[in-house]
Each structure stands twice: as C-alpha cells, then as structure tokens.
C-alpha cells in the first residue's frame, strides 16, 4: 500500500473509532502518526498541533490536513482530511435517513428516551464551560468577558448577539491590550 493509501486508512481508522471529537482524537492521532508510523517527530507534531488549534474549524480535520500536507503536499492533505471525515459522515447520514424528526415524534418510546437525554446534553455542555474557564486562567479582571458574552449571545438581540461579533471583539480586545501595554512599556 502506498503512502496515500496508508494516510487514508490511518485517518479513517481514527475518524471511525474516536468518540467525542477534538481532544479525544489528538492522543490517538499522536500514537498512530508519531509512535506507530514514525511519519513525523513528536516535536513537529506538537508544532503542527499548535497551528491546527489556532485556526478556526474542526480541530481533528485541521490536524489531519496539516499532517497530510506536511507529508505529501496538498494531495496528502485532501486524502487525510477525507479519511477523517468519511466514517462519521456515513454513520450520521445513515442515522439521518432512518431517524428523522418525525420518527422521534411519532414513536412514544423514542420521544420518552430523548426527553430524558435532552437535559443531560445541557449538563454535558456545562461541564466544559468550567474546565475551559479554569484552563483560560480567568482573573477578576477578565471573568466578566465570558459572563457578558454568554448572556448577550443567549438573549438573541440581533447583531450584538451574533457569536461572530464576539469572536471579532475578543481578537480586537487582545490586540488592543497588547498595543496598549507595548506603548506603556516604551514610554517608561
């Protein structure tokens, strides 16, 4: 099997067997790419990971693309990305075909099961709020940012509630803070 075939099957395996996306996938990708296939060194993997993480989009696809690109250029990137996406695409497509909103609504068993699941999903999203808040090392001077952002976004007030607005504000705020402290530094 050529390198393209190996890239494809390796990333397809990763896409098919990792539940929970992003971070769960990273350690498996590292094992496969660095330890098993020795395609790249660990240092370089961590570099690629840092870049994949800083770009928008789906982390697992970003890291697959950058490893494929590093090994075989754009063609390698496409092969690795498609390999990662394909299994979950096919699985979800099959579910979508057989489990339509009408199917859930019309089945008493399914709708009672999902009535139990929905509040649990909310809890699954509250947990990462706390873990990322801890990881972001929020201080008293910064903790108002996520609080205000979350409140305004969830209130649905047009453009100010658009998450994109807040992403832009965060980037701008980071830049202005940097510019401000640099000027203060050069004055003193």
């Amino acid at each position: 099997m050529g390198i393209y075939g190996q890239l494809f099957t390796t990333f397809m395996k990763i896409g098919a067997f990792t539940f929970g996306g992003g971070w769960a996938m990273i350690s498996i990708i590292e094992k496969e790419i660095v330890d098993k296939h020795h395609w790249i060194e660990r240092d370089e993997f961590l570099d690629l990971l840092a870049i994949a993480q800083s770009l928008p989009g789906i982390l697992a696809v970003n890291i697959a693309t950058s490893i494929g690109d590093r090994l075989k250029g754009m063609k390698g990137g496409i092969v690795a990305a498609v390999g990662t996406i394909l299994p979950s695409f096919l699985i979800i497509l099959a579910i979508a075909i057989f489990l339509t909103p009408e199917t859930i609504k019309n089945s008493h068993v399914l709708s009672s099961i999902f009535m139990g699941i929905r509040p649990a999903v909310v809890a699954l999203i509250i947990a990462p709020v706390i873990t990322t808040a801890k990881a972001a090392k929020l201080k008293l001077t910064t903790i108002w940012i996520p609080a205000v952002a979350a409140l305004v976004i969830s209130l649905d007030m047009g453009i100010v509630s658009n998450p994109i607005t807040w992403i832009a504000l965060g980037a701008l705020g980071g830049y202005l803070h940097w510019e401000y402290s640099r000027r203060k530094l050069s004055k003193s």
């Binding site: 098919a16 539940f19 929970g20 996306g21 870049i51 994949a52 800083s54 770009l55 928008p56 989009g57 789906i58 697992a60 970003n62 693309t65 950058s66 990137g77 990662t84 996406i85 979950s88 695409f89 979800i92 497509l93 579910i95 979508a96 075909i97 489990l99 339509t100 909103p101 009408e102 099961i113 139990g116 699941i117 929905r118 509040p119 999903v121 909310v122 809890a123 999203i125 509250i126 947990a127 990322t132 929020l138 910064t142 903790i143 940012i145 996520p146 952002a149 979350a150 976004i153 969830s154 509630s161 658009n162 998450p163 807040w166 992403i167 965060g170 980037a171 980071g174 803070h177 940097w178």
Partner: protein, 202 residues
C-alpha cells in the same frame, strides 16, 4: 434551490469563525440553523446527543445531519427523494471543512513564522475568555421549555432539572474506583439518562 445556498453560506461562516472547538461552535450552529427554522430547538439538542454517541467531530456530525434534514423541513415534511437530503449533507459537510482546509494549507507557513510573535499570542489570549463565553451561551440557549418540559408540566420540569444536575455531577466529578479516580464517559451518561427518560415518561 435557495435553501442549499443558504445552508452553504451558514456552514461556510461556521467553518470560518468556529474558533475553540466543537462546544464553542454550538452557539454559532444554533443561531444559524434553529434561527431560520431549518430544525426545531429539540431536534438541535437531539443532534448534539447523537453526535456524542457516534464517532467523529461534532462539527462534522451536525453539518451532515442538518444538511440531510433541513431541505425536507423547509418544504414541509417528507423529501421527494433522499437524494436531496444526501446532496444537502455533502454540501454542508464540505462547506464547514473547506475554509479551514484552505487556511491550513495556505496559512500554516505564515503562522509558523509568526506564532511566537506578540501580536498573534495577544489575539489568542483575547479569544480565550470569549471561547468560555461561547460554550456557556450554548448551554444557556439549550436551557429552555422545549428541552426541559415541552408539555410545560411541573413534574417534567422538576425531573429534567434533576437529570441535568445529576448528569453534570457524573461527568464533572471524578469518582474513586479501585484506587483510581475516574469520570463517567459522556456516552454512558447519555445512555443512563435515556433509560431514565424511558422509565419516567413512557
């Protein structure tokens, strides 16, 4: 036809501005697909649950599912042929992945060169607290009548709040087990609460 263009546009935006991983993307996805009425509030939550239980990133899973379902919902009910749904899921999945694919291929050199620079680091430092807010907003948006008590019944509401609180404890707090600390896997929690829902409401 126009529903496909609107879906592509929505998922391109999600692909371009989806910083901070799957959960941080959710509020953006919610705004883009529940807002225009492509799927219901409940269906959105169901998709998140299904994404948790199936392999693969949540961003891909939601694009594939919504891409399939949305064209039928907009025309009101059943699709003329599943082909239209499959077309929708291919287009949405591509739309959400292509922007970052291009960025990885074209911009990684630039970022590698400037990754250590102060500006880039400062911008990401500014994004970090916002990402926390984005995830929190997704949680707040899903705390609604449709998800907690679609029948506006008090008993349902109390049961739902209890399910939410217990699920949170199960996922967040690590339990000591044979000398090691383990957290319950989200899939297991979803299965347990699905069973609870069956016992409570069937």
């Amino acid at each position: 036809m126009s529903i496909y263009l609107k879906m592509i546009w929505a998922y391109l935006k999600i692909g371009i501005f989806g910083f901070g991983g799957g959960y941080a993307m959710l509020s953006l996805v919610e705004r883009s697909v529940v807002g225009p009425g492509w799927i219901s509030e409940q269906m959105f939550t169901d998709i998140v649950a299904i994404s948790q239980m199936t392999p693969g990133p949540i961003g891909i899973n939601s694009a594939t599912y919504i891409g399939y379902v949305a064209p039928g919902q907009v025309t009101g009910g059943e699709l003329a042929s599943p082909i239209w749904g499959i077309l929708g899921s291919i287009l949405c999945t591509l739309a959400v992945t292509v922007p970052s694919f291009i960025l990885v291929i074209k911009a990684s050199h630039f970022i590698r060169k400037h990754n250590e620079s102060g500006v880039i680091k400062a911008i990401f430092a500014g994004l970090r607290p916002v990402v926390v807010g984005l995830i929190a907003s997704a949680a707040i948006m899903l705390m609604n009548w449709a998800n907690f008590a679609p029948d506006h019944d008090q008993r349902t509401l109390i049961c739902s709040i209890a399910i939410c609180a217990v699920s949170f404890c199960l996922v967040y707090f690590k339990l000591p087990y044979k000398g090691k600390k383990i957290g319950l896997h989200p899939i297991l929690v979803i299965c347990i609460m699905g069973l609870a829902g069956f016992l409570l409401y069937y």
